[in-house]
């Protein structure tokens, strides 16, 4: 009985027709392509994008220039100098250089930071036109979100 079915399948090319139906179904399926410049896929929550310095709720910088990140960094990405502003008890960075070209996105600086000042942003569009642009200075380290993208793009940086 089985052989009859097999012969039937072979004579009428049923397997091939079945295969054609499968591909036809896929033809009308939803496409998974993301049309990149127009549509941008949101990275996942723990995505390791550009490193950014963050501020607290009141707009005060969180960084206390303790240089823990500089010490732990395996590739020496950071150059940090701190100073105490007048009348303040807390140290603030006067210089915070981060070299994107050296960074391996290992995340040790994020882990070691006592005040959670340095964190990964979710910005992944890092194409730049000049090597100097790979060096991030202090005020720019606070830029994030859409502003950051505009800041990075097309060599618009000074």
């Amino acid at each position: 009985m089985k052989s009859v079915q097999e012969i039937f399948q072979k004579v009428f090319l049923l397997d091939i027709l079945q295969g054609l139906l499968v591909t036809l179904k896929h033809y009308f399926s939803r496409k998974v392509t993301v049309q990149y410049p127009e549509e941008v896929k949101e990275p996942t929550a723990r995505f390791r994008g550009l490193l950014r310095l963050y501020r607290d709720g009141k707009g005060e910088p969180l960084c206390i220039a303790c240089k823990a990140c500089q010490r732990i960094c395996p590739t020496n990405c950071f150059d940090i100098e701190g100073a105490r502003p007048e009348g303040s008890k807390i140290l603030r960075p006067t210089r915070y250089d981060w070299k994107l070209d050296r960074c391996s996105f290992c995340g040790l600086c994020v882990e070691v930071c006592p005040t959670d000042a340095i964190r990964f942003s979710r910005e992944f569009r890092m194409s730049l036109v000049a090597k100097e642009h790979l060096l991030f200075h202090l005020p720019d380290m606070y830029v994030e979100g859409e502003d950051l993208q505009e800041f990075i793009c097309g060599g618009c940086r000074p």
């Binding site: 090319l13 091939i16 295969g19 054609l20 499968v22 591909t23 036809l24 896929h26 033809y27 399926s29 939803r30 496409k31 998974v32 392509t33 049309q35």
Partner: protein, 344 residues
């Protein structure tokens, strides 16, 4: 009056020749675009959709790129044959189009305009013969490249095309049995008189013809000559620029040609479905060329659909398929059709 005669005797043939060169080219452009889009859709992608509306101008952009590419001739190559083979491949597949009837002849001011360049009592043989000349182009190209992969690809291609030509011709003969003519126009007209397309009378012939047709054009699942995982790109590995484009265009033109043949032999050419039936007479309102185009597009789509579905054959399986299955099947089919013709 003389101006009118001049128009119909000189200008119309010239226009027809231009149209017959342009028509396969346009079909090739549509086909390249359609292939990339349809295969992408089957694979859940979008395919090229940037150049022009939905990427329709993509093949033109590709061709423009190929125009400006450096034309490389390998130092060890046989220059004459190397240059000759793309011309042979291209010319043979374009020439065959002059025998393909595209639609019903119509009359303007007493002049009948036929939608084909040449009508020959052995049109079918000529078309098959011309498409076989392309084999010379392939073997010359593979040999003249003086490189191992093109040679292997060319050998595979020739073995495949020569083997599959036997069931192809044999099944085409069954149609000739019914129409009593090798004239492609007469074959279509006979399907009109017979009230039914030959494809419904001869389903086995159609199937064998179609499978052999896919193998003839070196398309998936019979694309062994171009198996890029084994042979880089087959017989046109060493070609670049416009010469490569010639091979590429010729391959697609050949697909259009085989689809046209299938439509003419088995699906009534420019005829609407069930010609002569009263109930479906309103279908004749649509011009014949449109019917022809719809049918041909279906078969071109089927080419791509099959390519997106089936994996490539092994070479021994490919040869086994033709010699152990298709040739005996075509012979048996031939004998049965011949018997049926004489008994009925």
């Amino acid at each position: 009056m003389t101006a009118l005669t001049l128009l119909f005797d000189v200008l119309i043939p010239v226009l027809k020749i231009a149209a017959v060169i342009l028509y396969p080219m346009v079909m090739v452009i549509v086909m390249i675009w359609m292939e990339r889009r349809v295969v992408a859709f089957i694979q859940g992608r979008l395919g090229p959709n940037r150049v022009g509306f939905q990427g329709i101008l993509q093949p033109i952009a590709d061709a423009t790129k190929l125009f400006f590419k450096e034309d490389i001739i390998p130092r060890q190559a046989d220059k004459f044959l190397f240059n000759l083979s793309p011309v042979l491949v291209m010319a043979s597949s374009l020439l065959a189009f002059s025998f393909i009837p595209l639609g019903q002849p119509f009359e303007i001011k007493g002049y009948t305009i036929e939608l084909w360049i040449a009508q020959s009592p052995v049109g079918l043989l000529l078309v098959l013969g011309l498409s076989s000349i392309g084999v010379f182009g392939i073997i010359f190209g593979g040999w003249a490249s003086n490189s191992k992969y093109p040679l292997m690809g060319a050998l595979r291609s020739v073995v495949q095309i020569l083997s599959y030509e036997i069931p192809l011709g044999m099944t085409a003969l069954t149609v000739v049995f019914f129409s009593r003519s090798m004239d492609l126009v007469a074959i279509v007209n006979h399907q009109k008189d017979a009230r039914v397309w030959f494809g419904f009378l001869l389903p086995v012939s159609f199937l064998v013809f179609w499978i052999s047709g896919i193998a003839e054009t070196n398309r998936a699942p019979f694309d062994l000559p171009e198996a890029e995982s084994e042979l880089v790109a087959g017989y046109h590995t060493e070609y670049s620029g416009m010469k490569f484009a010639f091979f590429y265009i010729a391959e697609y033109a050949h697909m259009v040609l085989v689809s046209s043949l299938v439509v003419i032999l088995f699906f009534g050419g420019w005829l609407p479905p069930f010609p002569n039936s009263r109930a479906l007479a309103f279908l004749s309102v649509v011009p014949g060329f449109v019917w022809y185009l719809i049918k041909i597009m279906f078969f071109l789509y089927l080419y791509i659909w099959i390519r997106g579905t089936l994996p490539r054959y092994r070479f021994d399986a490919l040869i086994k398929l033709v010699w152990k299955w298709l040739v005996p099947l075509a012979l048996l089919n031939f004998v049965i059709v011949a018997l049926a013709w004489y008994l009925l």
